[in-house]
Symmetry: C2
Subunit: 334 residues, 2 copies
């Protein structure tokens, strides 16, 4: 019996993954997979909650995300990679949980509130989108995850999950569901290459894990630094300087970066040198991922085989939780 911490994490397959995903979650998963029981959920159902009229966008991106996972170093022999839509227990638990959460409560969820405005739903809000925190609670609890890696903007989701756990357990003769804790990412959200606070495909400011040399070169070249750093000898600002934000996020030599920052701030270090340092770092980071990814994406059969195997394993675990919940509710297990 393994006493490893169980972690659930995952992505909505809305497009290939980029450096923002790498910095915010992929490399953390690679680091965690040896010591934790880690499940990575390809959340295709959740992806459809705001792509209801374009479901093929989601299904087409499933192999893309899988190739990214493997390219980034997620090892399917250590991490269970599984598909949300192939785990019926997740939908079934969602149905149970929906009855113990009020519409008023999900409408009050700050993350949902913010996203409803951001996505411009207004009166066209799909029921599935309103219900997605409940579906996410089903995901987390089905795996009995005790740790969930999230950004700080997702903390209300963890709170809502634990409310559901508490309420559901109180309806059962003995507790079945686990409370969970947020595992906050060390890196704050990576800004886009244009300096926008968010790196996102729709803003066209990403660097994909499949980015070629020329794209990386141009991206680094075009990055804003400090608009007031006109001469090399001028003291420069490090805060809000995207080049340094990226060096902080990706450069393996933290001492070197600290020295560069000090030098830049007192004056005498040119943007060109900083950008060169960053470009070398990104080229070295991305090249092996790009190459592995190019091989993997050719082999859909292999990718689907990994997903099938992981989903079978996840099916066992999640069915077990569902069975316990149903038994607790007194429902027949036919």
């Amino acid at each position: 019996m393994s006493m490893k911490t169980t972690i659930l994490t995952g992505d909505r397959p809305t497009g290939p993954l980029h450096l923002g995903h790498f910095a915010g979650s992929l490399r953390q998963r690679v680091a965690l997979q040896n010591d934790c029981q880690q499940y990575v959920l390809v959340a295709d159902l959740q992806g459809m909650t705001d792509n209801g009229s374009d479901p093929q966008k989601i299904s087409n991106n499933i192999p893309e995300v899988l190739a990214d996972y493997l390219a980034a170093g997620i090892d399917p022999s250590l991490t269970t990679i599984c598909l949300q839509s192939s785990l019926p227990a997740l939908a079934e638990l969602t149905m149970f949980y929906m009855n113990i959460v009020t519409v008023a409560r999900v409408e009050r969820n700050p993350t949902v509130k913010h996203e409803i405005v951001q996505k411009g739903f207004a009166r066209s809000l799909p029921v599935g989108f309103l219900a997605y925190p409940i579906s996410q609670a089903a995901d987390i609890t089905a795996f009995k995850a005790s740790m969930v890696p999230v950004g700080s903007d997702q903390l209300p989701m963890i709170e809502q999950t634990n409310e559901i756990v508490h309420k559901m357990n109180s309806l059962l003769p003995e507790p079945v569901l686990n409370h969970c804790k947020a595992l906050l990412s060390e890196t704050s959200r990576l800004p886009g290459i244009d300096g926008n606070a968010k790196m996102s495909k729709s803003l066209g400011n990403t660097l994909l894990l499949s980015a070629d040399e020329e794209t990386i070169h141009r991206a680094v070249n075009s990055m804003y630094t400090d608009a007031n750093h006109l001469k090399v000898s001028d003291p420069g600002q490090v805060k809000g300087n995207i080049v340094f934000t990226y060096l902080d996020a990706f450069h393996p030599n933290k001492t070197l970066v600290a020295e560069m920052k000090a030098h830049y701030q007192r004056g005498g270090l040119g943007d060109r040198i900083c950008k060169n340092e960053l470009e070398v770092c990104l080229q070295e980071l991305i090249a092996p991922m790009r190459e592995r990814r190019a091989t993997y994406i050719q082999d859909k059969g292999m990718l689907m085989g990994i997903l099938k195997k992981g989903s079978e394993r996840a099916h066992e675990v999640t069915q077990n939780t569902l069975r316990e919940v149903k038994q607790g509710l007194g429902l027949p297990i036919l």
Copy 2:
């Protein structure tokens, strides 16, 4: 390949069934089961949408409803009796459909609007209750039912289902889901024994299929007739006269009932004689059901065996629909 019409119907297992169910649906099912492919769904999940905090009320009533079905003459070799919570495809299809129905649309559903007021939900409306028309659409379409027996108050549910069918089919390379038609019950809703428009357990005005002789006797005795029909020789009102409503609903000899009505209206027919005629009729109707039911309810193993067998059959059918929908959406079938 059978070309029989496929019918889906069912009940929320919130309590044992009563004469209102018998008049409104059970006897229709018995009549239809020879000529149609009939599925009867024990809708435990739907029962929990407004019993979220008392799930055991639902699970405890599953065998009660099964015993009522068999007692009323539903034959499991002709009708497939199945359990909603044991059919994962229903929850999974609900998840897909929730993404193509807006919150505004379900809030506008007249049946839902009415029930929200009736049940006094206000701000405590559970998400599951708001979503139940979508879940019902999943039930109907999963079985590819073309006919759904409903009361006229449920017509908006059929309309909503067909909207979902239309929208969902438009997202798939070729149509998968069937449109459905309402099969309106011939009998209008049976009033309670106290004359209240609705027979319901919470109003204490029902006659259960397990009612004993004395209960039936007292129920008929206490029925209101025509408050102005003071002397036997007075002309009496038939409209709104519960005894005649029940004679209409249950007496096998329609000619006799027509003659009695005419006699009552012109005067000379006493309430006592009418009530005696009704009591004999109800005693004869209920006695064999009561006896069968008393035997069946003792044998939970047999009841669950029937439910298991029916649910296995229903699982095949509903999984098939789910598979077609997933394939159409381009999702991997792992």
